[in-house]
Each structure stands twice: as C-alpha cells, then as structure tokens.
C-alpha cells in the first residue's frame, strides 16, 4: 500500500471529469484523475455522431473527436491519469482508497490525500422489465453502443429498440451504421421523446416508430438467447392491451429507458442529496460553483443530473475552476468572471422546448442549496 498527496482528485474521466481536471491543472494544480475503465473518455468515445451546441462546445464535431481533444489537453496540462483504478472508499479527512490495477494484472491499494475532490461519476442506464428480460440478447442501448462503436463488434443482426429518447434514436441509427437492421423502435408514450431530427434520420432509413407500444416478452430461441420480441399496444396508463400482441423476429432487444445519476461515491463522501425527477433520480445539492454540502467536494456532469455531454463539459470546467479557487490558485473575482461566462453558455444550452425545464430545475436546485445548506456546510 502506498500513500500519495495531490491538490485535486477527479473521479471519473468522462467529459465532466476531464474538463474539470484540465481547468484545475492549467491554473497550476497537481491533478490526478482516476477511472475504473480500460480507456479514458467516459461515454464520449461511443458518441460517433456530430454534436449539437455552439462553437464553444465544439458543435459539429463528433463526440469521439472531442474525447481525443480533451485527452490531449489533459496531457498537455500535466494531468495524471490512472485507469483501471476504482475508488473503494472515501474516509473522513478526505482520505480516498483506490484499488489500482497494474499492467501485469496485479492490483495495488493506494491511499490518496487530495486537498479537493471532484466527483464526476456519470450515470447508468435504467432498465425496463418484461417477461424474460434477463435473456442474453436483451441489453442496455448503451451496451450495444459500446460494442459497435468502441469494440467494433455487433451484438447481433436484427434489433428491436425500446424507448424513443435521444439515446434510443441515436443508437438505432448507429446500429444501422454498424450494419445491423433495426426492425422497430417501440415507445410507450404517445409521442417521440427525443429530437425530431434524430427521429427523422431513422424514419428515412425505414425504421418504424411504434408509439403507444411496449415490449411484453422476449422470445427465447433454441440456443437460450433472444429470438424475438413480443410487443403490444398500451392504454393511457401504459398497460398492455390484451389481444394486441405481435411478435417481431430479432436477436437483440435494446433498452433505452433513460439514465440515472450514479450516486455511490457522492453518498460515500457525505454530500446532501435530493430527489429530482427532471434530472433522473437522487442528485447532490450544490451551489453555483459546483461545490456540494461538503466543503472541498465538487460535482459535475451527469452525476449532478442527467443532461448531455455539452453541459457536462461546462459543469466540469466550473468545478475545476472552483477547486483552484479553494487551493488559492486563482482569485475569487477572476474565477467569477470565468464562471459567469460558462454559466451564460450553460443557459444557452438549457433553452428551447427541451432545455427550459432543466434550466428552471437547475436554478431551483441551486436556490434550494442556499436555503438548506449554505451556512451549515460540512467539513470532510
């Protein structure tokens, strides 16, 4: 076991964590970023479509290219990146235990003593249960996306997608780019959840979008894996209507039922949480500097509420700058100038029929923080 000090520990090397580490390191902090995966970048490297947003968000670039750019920036800024490294404990006094897998397959336990911690652990996929939903061939849409776009292998040949949010729409499109067929996209709601342009892409490719429908059963084939999906119409309470069942041949069923913020480490750090439907589940209360109810513990990205890579990048930048303020590397007023500009950009992302709700909710949550936490911030 070894002990190491650092100015800033960033947990999670996705868009939020990387941008936080870049900002803090550029301001002179000694930054270590840890991630349990084999590769850094979080989910950016499976996003092979061109991103929306403004030029400040590298819009028009593909997620995968934004990921490469961030990695280069992090390396240039002198950020230390530990992969295959899992945080297994956060103890009083900001002692963090990390199990670090070495190249030869052995692992080492490291105790890290950071001054500041940024937690950017992202989100995980929700599940929808139906008969035989555990059968091999039923998987998260994100899992299928990882296989095709990161590992370049198809999870099967013919897919039925459940869920018409942006993930369901985009992954359907990308499955076809990988050479799979998408037999149908099934959505229980009476309307498409994601962006119209994403829906239009898969409609042009001939994928039927079956609204007011759900999957009631995965058909198990002779080999014990999925060979079909039974779908049915649903009533206004989303209950399947008997007699409307229909079987679609497929060997893959992908579930795109939304994401929920990953809270384990945020809870472990003692941050105060609140439940928020708009943002996908329990999330940490935080102020406009992305600092939580625990002094020196910052959060950013999907683990503060499920949004998108662009918002994660910007929240990460704010968290990185704020960590640098705590370290005394930048004055509060200089930091405010930078953070205000980023907030303005974030506001522009949280506009329109899709974003407004998130803007209102974020403002409300920050208000809640000031009411409930501000003066009673805990020390880690």
């Amino acid at each position: 076991m070894s002990i190491r000090k650092a100015d800033v520990l960033v947990i999670g090397a996705g868009p939020a964590g990387l941008s936080a580490s870049i900002e803090a390191a550029r301001l002179g902090a000694d930054v270590i970023i840890v991630d349990l995966n084999m590769k850094p970048g979080g989910q950016l490297f499976k996003q092979i479509h061109k991103f929306f947003g403004s030029s400040a968000h590298h819009s028009g670039s593909r997620g995968i290219d934004i990921g490469r750019m961030l990695l280069d920036e992090a390396k240039d800024a002198g950020v230390t990146i530990w992969l295959k490294s899992t945080v297994i404990g956060i103890f009083p006094g900001k002692k963090v235990s990390i199990e670090r897998e070495m190249d030869d397959g052995t692992s080492e336990l490291v105790t890290l003593l950071p001054e500041e911690i940024v937690i950017a652990t992202g989100a995980s996929e929700n599940v929808i249960r139906f008969k035989n939903w555990t059968t091999p061939g039923v998987m998260g849409a994100g899992a299928a996306q990882t296989m095709i776009n990161v590992n370049h292998v198809r999870p099967g040949k013919r897919v039925v997608m459940l869920g018409s949010g942006n993930v369901g729409l985009i992954v359907s499109y990308q499955l076809m780019q990988a050479g799979c067929d998408v037999a149908a996209l099934v959505e229980a709601a009476p309307k498409v959840g994601g962006y119209a342009v994403h829906a239009a892409k898969i409609r042009r490719a001939g994928v039927p979008i079956l609204l007011r429908h759900t999957i009631t059963e995965a058909v198990i084939g002779e080999d014990g894996t999925v060979s079909g999906a039974v779908i049915a119409e649903v009533d206004e309470h989303f209950k399947p209507i008997p007699g409307t069942e229909e079987t679609i041949d497929c060997d893959v069923i992908t579930l795109a039922a939304g994401l929920k913020p990953t809270m384990d480490l945020i809870k472990l750090a003692g941050c105060e949480l609140t439940f928020d439907g708009v943002f996908g589940g329990y999330i940490p209360l935080h102020d406009e500097n992305m600092e939580t109810s625990v002094r020196g513990v910052f959060v950013a990205g999907d683990s503060t509420g499920v949004e998108e890579a662009n918002t994660a990048l910007d929240e990460g930048r704010i968290a990185g700058i704020s960590a640098a303020v705590s370290l005394g590397l930048i004055s509060g007023s200089d930091a405010d100038e930078r953070r205000d500009a980023i907030w303005e950009r974030l506001d522009s992302l949280r506009m329109g029929p899709f974003g407004e709700r998130r803007k209102k909710e974020k403002d409300h949550l920050i208000g809640l923080f000031h009411e409930e936490v501000k003066d009673q911030r805990a020390f880690a």
């Binding site: 498409v192 829906a199 522009s348 329109g352």
Partner: protein, 164 residues
C-alpha cells in the same frame, strides 16, 4: 400528425415552420432546404455557410433561417448539420429531372452512376434514381453527401436512398 408523433413531417407541415425557398427560387437552380423544425441548442450550419445565407443568431435555439437569394446550393451545410436535416434540391437539373443531395452515413456508400431506390421521409420507396455525385472530402468529416437524379415531380419527397 406532428413530427413528435411520428418522426417525420409532410412537406406542407414543413412549410409552416420553416422558410423554404420560393417556387421562383427553385426555378433558378440548386438551393438548400432546411428541415430543422425544433428549437434545439445548435448552430454549426450558420458558420458552415460561406455565403452568409443561414442565420441563427442568439439564442442558439432559434430555428435557422435561409436567405435563398444568398444560397448557391453548394451543399457544405448538408455535411455540417449534426441533425442531418439539410438537403440541396435542384429542380433545374434537366427539363424532366431534379437532383436531391442528402447526407448518407451508411455502408456501403453508393457510387456515382449506380441506380438506387429513392425513398421519402418515411423510408418508403418513391422511385428509382441515378447517383450523379458522391462528395466526401476531409472537410465533410465522414458525412458523405450523395446526389441522386430523379423525376422532377418527386423532388420535394425524395430525401434518401434504400440502405444496402
């Protein structure tokens, strides 16, 4: 039916929410048709146009507006739109035929001279057409822009080709 209900718009519905080129403008050659109908935070098309024909401004959730007089139908915006929602339509290709240029990010990418089945916004076969151009320069960043020649009467309907 709205786009949120079924994932596509009819041409008439599109006309209600987007500034489409006038019939008179279509008679003067290729021009962009922007099928972006929701206020989402996105503006690369504005910067993509070298002729200043696409305007979004602030906030970036504003729908893009095409100045059809400035548009020369070059198709750069077709490759740059992250939503793959811009097309170039040339109703003056020959007396009887039009061309439609659309983004196409599937394998196999068609080759010039090939006959393909043209499809509408719902993916339904409309007619057969000939691929007359496939543009895929580095600047398009892996979004090939395919141009298909089709009978003129289908110019407002055809938006892609059958996959494979």
């Amino acid at each position: 039916m709205s786009i949120a209900e079924c994932g596509y718009l009819t041409y008439d519905e599109l006309k209600e929410c987007q500034t489409l080129p006038s019939d008179e403008r279509f008679e003067r050659g290729p021009v962009a048709v922007i099928e972006c109908v929701q206020q989402i935070p996105c503006n690369p098309c504005e910067a993509a146009c070298h002729f200043g024909a696409i305007k979004i401004g602030e906030p970036i959730t504003t729908l893009p507006a095409l100045d059809a007089e400035k548009c020369v139908g070059c198709g750069v915006c077709v490759s740059r739109c992250p939503g793959l929602a811009i097309f170039v339509v040339n109703k003056t290709y020959t007396k009887d035929t039009a061309t439609v240029s659309f983004p196409y990010e599937y394998e196999p990418v068609p080759k010039e001279g090939e006959e393909k089945t043209a499809v509408n916004r719902m993916g339904e076969a409309v007619c057969s057409g000939k691929i007359v151009k496939v543009a895929d320069p580095v600047s398009f960043d892996h979004t090939p822009v395919v141009t298909i020649e089709i009978p003129r009467e289908y110019a407002d309907e055809v938006r892609s080709i059958e996959r494979g």
